[in-house]
Protein backbone atom coordinates (compact mmCIF):
# COMPACT_ATOMS: atom_id res chain seq x y z
CA UNK A 1 0.00 0.00 0.00
CA UNK A 2 2.80 2.36 0.93
CA UNK A 3 4.66 1.41 -2.23
CA UNK A 4 1.61 2.25 -4.35
CA UNK A 5 1.33 5.60 -2.61
CA UNK A 6 5.01 6.31 -3.18
CA UNK A 7 4.70 5.49 -6.87
CA UNK A 8 1.66 7.71 -7.15
CA UNK A 9 3.38 10.62 -5.45
CA UNK A 10 6.41 10.18 -7.68
CA UNK A 11 4.17 10.25 -10.73
CA UNK A 12 2.40 13.47 -9.86
CA UNK A 13 5.62 15.03 -8.61
CA UNK A 14 7.32 14.54 -11.96
CA UNK A 15 4.26 15.81 -13.79
CA UNK A 16 3.72 18.92 -11.71
CA UNK A 17 6.17 19.47 -8.83
CA UNK A 18 4.95 22.85 -7.65
CA UNK A 19 1.30 21.85 -7.75
CA UNK A 20 2.09 18.67 -5.83
CA UNK A 21 3.73 20.66 -3.07
CA UNK A 22 0.80 23.05 -2.92
CA UNK A 23 -1.57 20.09 -2.84
CA UNK A 24 0.30 18.65 0.12
CA UNK A 25 0.21 21.94 1.97
CA UNK A 26 -3.47 22.45 1.15
CA UNK A 27 -4.38 18.96 2.37
CA UNK A 28 -2.50 19.51 5.62
CA UNK A 29 -4.14 22.88 6.03
CA UNK A 30 -7.59 21.37 5.40
CA UNK A 31 -6.98 18.77 8.07
CA UNK A 32 -5.65 21.40 10.44
CA UNK A 33 -8.65 23.67 10.08
CA UNK A 34 -11.11 20.79 10.10
CA UNK A 35 -9.69 19.52 13.37
CA UNK A 36 -9.70 23.00 14.87
CA UNK A 37 -13.33 23.50 13.89
CA UNK A 38 -14.31 20.15 15.37
CA UNK A 39 -12.45 20.90 18.60
CA UNK A 40 -14.17 24.25 18.80
CA UNK A 41 -17.64 22.74 18.60
CA UNK A 42 -16.82 20.00 21.06
CA UNK A 43 -14.96 22.07 23.60
CA UNK A 44 -17.13 25.17 23.50
CA UNK A 45 -18.86 25.55 26.84
CA UNK A 46 -22.64 25.98 26.75
CA UNK A 47 -23.91 29.51 26.77
CA UNK A 48 -25.07 29.68 30.36
CA UNK A 49 -21.59 29.00 31.62
CA UNK A 50 -20.08 31.87 29.71
CA UNK A 51 -20.21 34.77 32.10
CA UNK A 52 -18.39 37.91 31.14
CA UNK A 53 -16.61 39.98 33.70
CA UNK A 54 -17.13 43.68 33.39
CA UNK A 55 -14.20 45.01 31.37
CA UNK A 56 -12.97 48.53 30.78
CA UNK A 57 -13.36 48.35 27.01
CA UNK A 58 -17.09 47.66 27.25
CA UNK A 59 -19.66 50.38 26.72
CA UNK A 60 -22.60 50.81 29.12
CA UNK A 61 -25.09 49.62 26.51
CA UNK A 62 -22.97 46.60 25.75
CA UNK A 63 -22.99 45.64 29.42
CA UNK A 64 -26.72 46.27 29.61
CA UNK A 65 -27.43 44.01 26.68
CA UNK A 66 -25.00 41.37 27.83
CA UNK A 67 -26.69 41.04 31.24
CA UNK A 68 -30.21 41.68 29.91
CA UNK A 69 -30.62 44.84 31.94
CA UNK A 70 -32.36 47.98 30.68
CA UNK A 71 -29.65 50.39 29.45
CA UNK A 72 -30.92 53.30 31.52
CA UNK A 73 -30.19 51.37 34.72
CA UNK A 74 -26.52 51.11 33.85
CA UNK A 75 -26.31 54.59 32.37
CA UNK A 76 -27.80 56.09 35.51
CA UNK A 77 -25.60 54.06 37.84
CA UNK A 78 -22.42 55.33 36.28
CA UNK A 79 -23.64 58.84 35.50
CA UNK A 80 -22.97 58.44 31.80
CA UNK A 81 -23.92 61.24 29.41
CA UNK A 82 -26.72 60.15 27.12
CA UNK A 83 -26.20 60.51 24.21
CA UNK A 84 -22.44 60.32 24.61
CA UNK A 85 -20.66 63.45 23.35
CA UNK A 86 -18.42 61.76 20.84
CA UNK A 87 -19.74 58.39 19.76
CA UNK A 88 -19.86 55.28 21.92
CA UNK A 89 -17.96 55.61 25.18
CA UNK A 90 -16.19 52.74 26.84
CA UNK A 91 -16.01 52.55 30.65
CA UNK A 92 -12.41 53.64 30.50
CA UNK A 93 -13.27 56.71 28.43
CA UNK A 94 -16.16 57.47 30.77
CA UNK A 95 -13.86 57.34 33.80
CA UNK A 96 -11.61 59.86 32.12
CA UNK A 97 -14.57 61.99 31.19
CA UNK A 98 -15.85 62.02 34.74
CA UNK A 99 -12.38 62.32 36.19
CA UNK A 100 -12.77 59.33 38.47
CA UNK A 101 -10.71 56.15 38.77
CA UNK A 102 -11.84 53.35 36.48
CA UNK A 103 -12.15 50.98 39.43
CA UNK A 104 -14.93 53.16 40.81
CA UNK A 105 -16.88 53.01 37.56
CA UNK A 106 -16.53 49.25 37.44
CA UNK A 107 -17.68 48.97 41.05
CA UNK A 108 -20.73 51.09 40.21
CA UNK A 109 -21.55 48.86 37.26
CA UNK A 110 -21.18 45.68 39.25
CA UNK A 111 -23.36 47.11 42.02
CA UNK A 112 -26.03 48.03 39.50
CA UNK A 113 -25.96 44.56 38.02
CA UNK A 114 -26.21 42.91 41.43
CA UNK A 115 -29.04 45.20 42.45
CA UNK A 116 -31.00 44.48 39.32
CA UNK A 117 -30.27 40.80 39.16
CA UNK A 118 -29.47 39.60 42.64
CA UNK A 119 -29.86 35.98 41.62
CA UNK A 120 -27.06 36.24 39.07
CA UNK A 121 -24.35 38.59 40.30
CA UNK A 122 -21.62 39.71 37.92
CA UNK A 123 -18.51 37.56 38.42
CA UNK A 124 -15.98 39.64 40.27
CA UNK A 125 -12.61 40.09 38.68
CA UNK A 126 -9.58 39.35 40.80
CA UNK A 127 -8.26 42.67 42.13
CA UNK A 128 -5.53 44.02 39.94
CA UNK A 129 -6.44 41.81 36.98
CA UNK A 130 -6.71 43.48 33.58
CA UNK A 131 -10.21 44.04 32.29
CA UNK A 132 -10.28 41.00 30.04
CA UNK A 133 -13.55 39.14 29.52
CA UNK A 134 -13.50 35.62 30.88
CA UNK A 135 -14.23 33.88 27.61
CA UNK A 136 -11.75 35.74 25.43
Amino acid sequence: MLKKMATFINKIWSAAPVATVILGVALSASLFFAVRSAVFFVAHPPRSERAQTVATWMTPRFIARSWHIPPRVILRAIDAPNPPPDGPMSLRELAEYRGVPIAQVIAEVEAAISDFRPEKPAPRRKPGAKGEPAND
Binding site: A19, A29, R50
Partner: protein
Protein backbone atom coordinates in the same frame (compact mmCIF):
# COMPACT_ATOMS: atom_id res chain seq x y z
CA UNK B 1 -7.36 41.45 20.14
CA UNK B 2 -11.08 41.95 20.72
CA UNK B 3 -10.28 44.53 23.35
CA UNK B 4 -8.06 46.50 20.95
CA UNK B 5 -10.64 46.44 18.18
CA UNK B 6 -13.42 47.46 20.56
CA UNK B 7 -11.22 50.30 21.76
CA UNK B 8 -10.67 51.46 18.20
CA UNK B 9 -14.38 51.54 17.50
CA UNK B 10 -15.27 53.40 20.70
CA UNK B 11 -12.59 55.93 19.91
CA UNK B 12 -13.09 56.40 16.17
CA UNK B 13 -16.58 55.09 15.52
CA UNK B 14 -17.69 53.83 12.16
CA UNK B 15 -14.79 55.53 10.36
CA UNK B 16 -12.36 52.90 11.56
CA UNK B 17 -14.65 50.23 10.11
CA UNK B 18 -14.55 52.00 6.74
CA UNK B 19 -10.76 52.32 6.80
CA UNK B 20 -10.27 48.75 7.91
CA UNK B 21 -12.50 47.34 5.16
CA UNK B 22 -10.81 49.52 2.56
CA UNK B 23 -7.23 48.62 3.52
CA UNK B 24 -7.89 44.91 3.87
CA UNK B 25 -9.13 44.81 0.28
CA UNK B 26 -5.65 45.97 -0.68
CA UNK B 27 -3.98 42.94 0.90
CA UNK B 28 -2.95 44.72 4.08
CA UNK B 29 -3.02 42.32 7.03
CA UNK B 30 -5.89 43.87 8.90
CA UNK B 31 -8.28 41.74 10.95
CA UNK B 32 -11.30 43.18 9.25
CA UNK B 33 -13.47 40.20 10.04
CA UNK B 34 -13.07 40.96 13.74
CA UNK B 35 -13.71 44.61 12.99
CA UNK B 36 -16.96 43.68 11.23
CA UNK B 37 -18.06 41.40 14.05
CA UNK B 38 -17.33 44.21 16.48
CA UNK B 39 -19.40 46.56 14.36
CA UNK B 40 -22.29 44.12 14.59
CA UNK B 41 -21.82 43.90 18.35
CA UNK B 42 -22.05 47.66 18.65
CA UNK B 43 -25.26 47.60 16.64
CA UNK B 44 -26.64 44.96 19.00
CA UNK B 45 -25.63 47.00 22.03
CA UNK B 46 -27.30 50.02 20.52
CA UNK B 47 -24.15 52.11 20.43
CA UNK B 48 -24.01 52.42 16.66
CA UNK B 49 -26.74 52.32 14.08
CA UNK B 50 -26.95 49.45 11.67
CA UNK B 51 -26.80 51.83 8.73
CA UNK B 52 -23.62 53.57 9.79
CA UNK B 53 -21.84 50.26 10.42
CA UNK B 54 -23.18 48.50 7.34
CA UNK B 55 -22.64 51.44 5.07
CA UNK B 56 -19.10 52.13 6.31
CA UNK B 57 -18.08 48.52 5.88
CA UNK B 58 -19.76 48.17 2.52
CA UNK B 59 -18.40 51.40 1.08
CA UNK B 60 -14.92 50.66 2.39
CA UNK B 61 -14.91 47.18 0.90
CA UNK B 62 -16.32 48.15 -2.49
CA UNK B 63 -13.99 51.12 -2.84
CA UNK B 64 -11.06 49.00 -1.70
CA UNK B 65 -11.88 46.38 -4.31
CA UNK B 66 -12.19 49.07 -6.97
CA UNK B 67 -8.81 50.46 -5.94
CA UNK B 68 -7.28 47.00 -6.16
CA UNK B 69 -8.77 46.47 -9.58
CA UNK B 70 -7.49 49.85 -10.74
CA UNK B 71 -4.01 49.12 -9.41
CA UNK B 72 -4.05 45.84 -11.28
CA UNK B 73 -5.18 47.52 -14.43
CA UNK B 74 -2.78 50.45 -14.45
CA UNK B 75 0.21 48.82 -12.78
CA UNK B 76 -0.45 45.69 -14.76
CA UNK B 77 1.77 42.66 -14.72
CA UNK B 78 4.85 44.56 -13.50
CA UNK B 79 3.24 45.47 -10.21
CA UNK B 80 1.66 42.07 -9.82
CA UNK B 81 5.11 40.55 -10.24
CA UNK B 82 6.67 42.87 -7.70
CA UNK B 83 3.88 42.21 -5.20
CA UNK B 84 4.36 38.49 -5.54
CA UNK B 85 8.04 38.63 -4.64
CA UNK B 86 7.38 36.72 -1.46
CA UNK B 87 6.79 33.07 -2.36
CA UNK B 88 3.64 32.76 -0.32
CA UNK B 89 2.09 35.72 -2.10
CA UNK B 90 3.05 34.32 -5.48
CA UNK B 91 1.21 31.11 -4.66
CA UNK B 92 -1.94 32.93 -3.68
CA UNK B 93 -1.73 35.16 -6.74
CA UNK B 94 -1.46 32.18 -9.05
CA UNK B 95 -4.54 30.64 -7.47
CA UNK B 96 -6.44 33.89 -7.83
CA UNK B 97 -5.64 34.05 -11.52
CA UNK B 98 -6.95 30.55 -12.12
CA UNK B 99 -10.13 31.40 -10.31
CA UNK B 100 -10.60 34.53 -12.36
CA UNK B 101 -9.77 32.88 -15.65
CA UNK B 102 -12.06 29.94 -15.15
CA UNK B 103 -14.98 31.53 -13.50
CA UNK B 104 -14.53 35.26 -13.95
CA UNK B 105 -17.45 36.81 -12.12
CA UNK B 106 -18.12 33.82 -9.87
CA UNK B 107 -14.50 33.91 -8.77
CA UNK B 108 -14.74 37.56 -7.84
CA UNK B 109 -18.03 36.90 -6.03
CA UNK B 110 -16.67 34.04 -3.93
CA UNK B 111 -13.41 35.81 -3.17
CA UNK B 112 -15.23 38.67 -1.46
CA UNK B 113 -16.75 36.53 1.26
CA UNK B 114 -16.32 32.74 1.10
CA UNK B 115 -12.65 32.81 0.14
CA UNK B 116 -11.96 36.25 1.53
CA UNK B 117 -8.16 35.83 2.01
CA UNK B 118 -7.87 35.50 -1.77
CA UNK B 119 -9.95 38.66 -2.30
CA UNK B 120 -7.27 41.33 -2.71
CA UNK B 121 -5.29 39.10 -5.06
CA UNK B 122 -8.31 38.41 -7.20
CA UNK B 123 -8.84 42.19 -7.44
CA UNK B 124 -5.29 42.81 -8.65
CA UNK B 125 -5.36 39.93 -11.10
CA UNK B 126 -8.81 40.83 -12.42
CA UNK B 127 -7.54 44.29 -13.26
CA UNK B 128 -4.26 43.04 -14.67
CA UNK B 129 -5.83 40.36 -16.87
CA UNK B 130 -8.43 42.74 -18.20
CA UNK B 131 -11.61 41.28 -16.72
CA UNK B 132 -14.34 43.66 -17.81
CA UNK B 133 -14.92 46.40 -15.22
CA UNK B 134 -18.68 46.02 -15.35
CA UNK B 135 -18.53 42.29 -14.78
CA UNK B 136 -16.03 42.77 -11.96
CA UNK B 137 -18.08 45.48 -10.26
CA UNK B 138 -21.40 43.66 -10.44
CA UNK B 139 -20.08 40.46 -8.89
CA UNK B 140 -17.95 42.39 -6.40
CA UNK B 141 -20.90 44.45 -5.18
CA UNK B 142 -23.02 41.33 -4.77
CA UNK B 143 -20.26 39.53 -2.92
CA UNK B 144 -19.52 42.38 -0.55
CA UNK B 145 -23.22 42.60 0.28
CA UNK B 146 -23.06 38.99 1.41
CA UNK B 147 -19.85 39.59 3.35
CA UNK B 148 -21.12 42.64 5.22
CA UNK B 149 -24.45 40.96 5.99
CA UNK B 150 -22.84 37.76 7.27
CA UNK B 151 -20.19 39.36 9.47
CA UNK B 152 -22.17 42.27 10.84
CA UNK B 153 -25.07 39.85 11.29
CA UNK B 154 -22.92 37.38 13.23
CA UNK B 155 -21.55 40.22 15.34
CA UNK B 156 -25.08 41.31 16.08
CA UNK B 157 -26.32 37.87 17.04
CA UNK B 158 -23.26 36.87 19.05
CA UNK B 159 -22.54 40.25 20.56
CA UNK B 160 -20.72 39.09 23.66
CA UNK B 161 -18.94 36.13 22.09
CA UNK B 162 -17.10 37.98 19.35
CA UNK B 163 -13.73 36.41 20.05
CA UNK B 164 -15.14 32.91 19.79
CA UNK B 165 -17.02 33.73 16.59
CA UNK B 166 -13.89 35.25 15.10
CA UNK B 167 -12.01 32.09 15.94
CA UNK B 168 -14.48 29.66 14.39
CA UNK B 169 -15.00 31.85 11.31
CA UNK B 170 -11.25 31.94 10.82
CA UNK B 171 -11.16 28.16 10.95
CA UNK B 172 -14.12 27.73 8.60
CA UNK B 173 -12.80 30.20 6.05
CA UNK B 174 -9.35 28.64 6.35
CA UNK B 175 -10.90 25.26 5.65
CA UNK B 176 -12.78 26.57 2.62
CA UNK B 177 -9.70 28.22 1.16
CA UNK B 178 -7.61 25.08 1.76
CA UNK B 179 -10.27 22.89 0.11
CA UNK B 180 -10.46 25.29 -2.82
CA UNK B 181 -6.71 24.93 -3.24
CA UNK B 182 -6.95 21.14 -3.03
CA UNK B 183 -9.53 21.24 -5.81
CA UNK B 184 -7.50 23.63 -7.94
CA UNK B 185 -4.21 21.75 -7.61
CA UNK B 186 -5.93 18.45 -8.29
CA UNK B 187 -7.38 19.92 -11.45
CA UNK B 188 -3.93 21.18 -12.48
CA UNK B 189 -2.14 17.90 -11.75
CA UNK B 190 -4.70 15.84 -13.61
CA UNK B 191 -4.39 18.21 -16.55
CA UNK B 192 -0.63 17.82 -16.53
CA UNK B 193 -0.82 14.02 -16.31
CA UNK B 194 -3.23 13.97 -19.22
CA UNK B 195 -1.02 16.25 -21.26
CA UNK B 196 2.00 14.05 -20.64
CA UNK B 197 0.06 10.93 -21.56
CA UNK B 198 -1.04 12.57 -24.80
CA UNK B 199 2.55 13.45 -25.62
CA UNK B 200 3.60 9.86 -25.07
CA UNK B 201 0.78 8.61 -27.33
CA UNK B 202 1.83 11.04 -30.01
CA UNK B 203 5.43 9.84 -29.80
CA UNK B 204 4.49 6.19 -30.12
CA UNK B 205 2.09 6.80 -33.01
CA UNK B 206 4.38 8.96 -35.02
CA UNK B 207 7.32 6.78 -34.15
CA UNK B 208 9.36 9.90 -33.46
CA UNK B 209 10.68 11.36 -30.26
CA UNK B 210 9.32 14.80 -29.58
CA UNK B 211 11.83 17.38 -28.33
CA UNK B 212 12.16 17.04 -24.56
CA UNK B 213 9.61 19.16 -22.79
CA UNK B 214 10.96 22.24 -21.06
CA UNK B 215 10.46 21.99 -17.31
CA UNK B 216 7.34 24.06 -17.05
CA UNK B 217 5.95 25.55 -13.87
CA UNK B 218 4.47 22.50 -12.17
Amino acid sequence: MTETVFGLVTEFGAYVIFVSAFLSCLALPIPTSIMMLTGGAFVAAGDLSFWSVGFSAYLGAVLGDQAGYLIGRTGGTALVERLSQSPSRALVLARAKTLVDQRGGTGVFLSTWALAPLGPWVNFVAGATGLSWIRFTIWDVLGETVWVTVYVGLGYVFMDQIASVAEIMGDVIGLLVALAMVAATTFWIRGMLRAKAERRNLETQEGVALPPEKVMEG
